[in-house]
């Protein structure tokens, strides 16, 4: 560690004003502050500073995402070997390895494209490289189907970074969650690659690992889309099935051994991530809790007037399946795009839960509603904050006036 510090100190003068590599100052600064907490202090006045700057905050989010990512990788392998009928023949490690090889290129592409644009923009504008993409870069592959072509991923990442982030002024100024914009872009651009039953399970080989012909009766439909396509019957008689038609238990859904986007399937791993985020104080528990509360209340009302399968589905299935939990924990809590006032967080969360369920249940075109619900509420978060702040000001004003008339009244009585 000492050697690294010494090396950085040695090459630093090259990047300072007048140094021959000054044009690359932003890049050097980004790497240095990424490796070491910057040693700069304020020069005037009294400041209280948390040692945890935004780079450290971002890393906590990335750490919280790791469990979901690892389970997701294993699940990619598991679904693959189930689909080609070799689930018993290969051991867990081989399944994980397959998933690792399938997911890794997507992470590399997302980071490469996103950070590439960030570094170039920062260098051109002569600013520090902002750290926001550390989280977006890992979120983007995790909310995509595993079979998303890499060029689409690159295109969507570039689109999201430029149009959802840089045009608004970079990290901290974006209105919409960058990773979700990448997903929404693909969702509307290439619907055949982002929904349906062909994209959630990778059936081809990855770098020569795995591969084979799919078994008879194979279906890659996610549980949620199975539910939407099954148009009659009672929910009590309905069974969710895996890729080979085997029934899925609640435990499997909880651990995340079902077809779906890479990061979203495992509720267990997501809850672990949520715990990390809440304990470290990085994400707001109010938002997470209110999303689940809003979703729960909406489902409870819909269940009362249930007219079909989807409307009959109890709330815990809504939380187990699809991206509801992942969105609630990792996407909606993005501090930049969420509501910032404490009361506002409750309203913001409740409405996301409500909208996500409404889109899921009442719109057969969208089996999953979390992405649109969060993006929609991202747009409304500033408005919610505005009214909360406004109401606070009015209340205090009233209190102030009341106090003033009270004192005046007292004087009048003398």
């Amino acid at each position: 560690m000492k050697a690294l510090r010494n090396y950085l100190d040695k090459i630093k003068p090259n990047f300072l004003e007048g140094g021959k590599l000054h044009w690359a100052h932003s890049t050097f600064d980004a790497i240095e502050t990424f490796l070491y907490v910057p040693n700069s202090t304020s020069k005037s006045g009294v400041h209280i500073h948390d040692a945890r700057d935004s780079k450290r905050t971002m890393i906590v989010v990335v750490l919280a995402l790791i469990p979901a990512l690892l389970v997701g990788m294993y699940n990619v392998g598991l679904q693959h070997y189930l689909a080609i009928g070799q689930a018993e023949a290969v051991d867990g490690l081989a399944k994980f390895l397959y998933g690792l090889l399938a997911v890794l290129p997507q992470i590399v592409v997302a980071y490469g494209v996103g950070l590439g644009i960030e570094f170039v923009v920062a260098q051109v504008k002569k600013e520090e490289v902002a750290e926001g993409f550390l989280v977006s870069g890992i979120l983007i592959p995790m909310i995509m189907p595993i079979d998303t072509p890499l060029w689409m991923l690159a295109l969507a990442t570039a689109f999201a970074v430029v149009f959802a982030k840089e045009v608004f002024g970079g990290t901290g100024y974006n209105i919409f969650n960058v990773a979700l914009i990448a997903r929404a872009f693909l969702f509307f651009s290439y619907p055949s690659k982002m929904s349906g039953d062909q994209v959630w399970v990778r059936t081809a080989d990855t770098f020569g690992v795995g591969g084979g012909t799919v078994v008879d009766g194979y279906s890659g439909a996610t549980p949620l889309s199975q539910l939407v396509t099954a148009d009659s019957g009672n929910f009590a008689d309905f069974t969710f099935t895996g890729v080979t038609g085997q029934p899925l238990s609640i435990i499997e859904m909880f651990i995340g051994l079902i077809p779906g986007s890479i990061g979203e399937t495992s509720l267990a791993a997501i809850l672990l991530g949520a715990l990390i985020l809440i304990v470290t104080g990085v994400a707001s528990w109010k938002i997470m809790f209110s999303i689940f509360a809003g979703g729960f209340a909406t489902v409870a009302v819909i269940n009362l007037f249930a007219a079909n399968l989807v409307m009959e589905m109890p709330a815990y299935y809504h939380f187990l399946l699809g991206g509801f939990a992942f969105g609630a924990v990792f996407m909606a809590t993005d501090p930049v795009t969420a509501a910032r006032t404490e009361t506002g967080k409750w309203i913001y969360g409740l409405l996301i839960g409500f909208l996500a369920i409404v889109i899921r249940v009442f719109n057969p075109g969208f089996p999953e509603g979390m992405m649109l619900a969060i993006l929609f509420m991202n747009a409304f978060a500033p408005l919610i904050d505005l009214y909360i702040v406004d109401a606070n000001i009015k209340r205090r004003m009233k209190r102030g006036i009341a106090a003033k008339t009270l004192t005046n009244g007292g004087k009048g009585n003398e």
């Binding site: 509307f188 290439y190 055949s192």
Partner: protein, 210 residues
Amino acid sequence: MAILSGKTKAALLGPLNKDNPVIVQVLGICSALAVTAKLEPAIVMAIAVTVVVALANVIISLLRKLIPTRVRMIVQLMVAATLVAIVSELLKAYAFDVNRQLSVFVGLIVSNCILMGRMEAFALGNGPWPSFLDGIGNGLGYGWILVVLGFVRELFGSGTLLGYQIIPQIFYDAGYQNNGFMSLAPMAILLTGVIIWIHRARNKDLQETE
């Protein structure tokens, strides 16, 4: 005398660049988003608007001393509606398919801000010849934005131009797909934004000071 003196030249060429009705004055956006999913309707729309604005400008300019100020809007609307009706009938007769693609937007030229704006702001105060050039200029200024939008959106949204396949089959075999988002209106407004971005970056004097 040169055919184009300073003022008439500005009337004709200004709207193509620094006085563009779409990307500077931000008028006529609605139809610019609606008809540009394909190149052909975009071109037809551009021609239709150019013809209507030019003729309407000339007629209003000729009548400008006769029209009482109070009823000028009604007169302008009458002239515009008549011309649009003629253009609409011509399209139905000679380009029925395109007319169907343009649907209501031919009729809606009547309410196009550019048309009313030019009659009100230019034709009422200028002679027929400058008014004609002003109409042509504004129509073309609107038109080239439509053509650029139609070109990009049809090329990437459908892989074709004017209905002919441009992106070769080899690309599709290699995994390329048409971008469905390009055919939707949100992408059109994003592309318009990009054109405005590039235009303002090149014309610093158009940038607002804060």
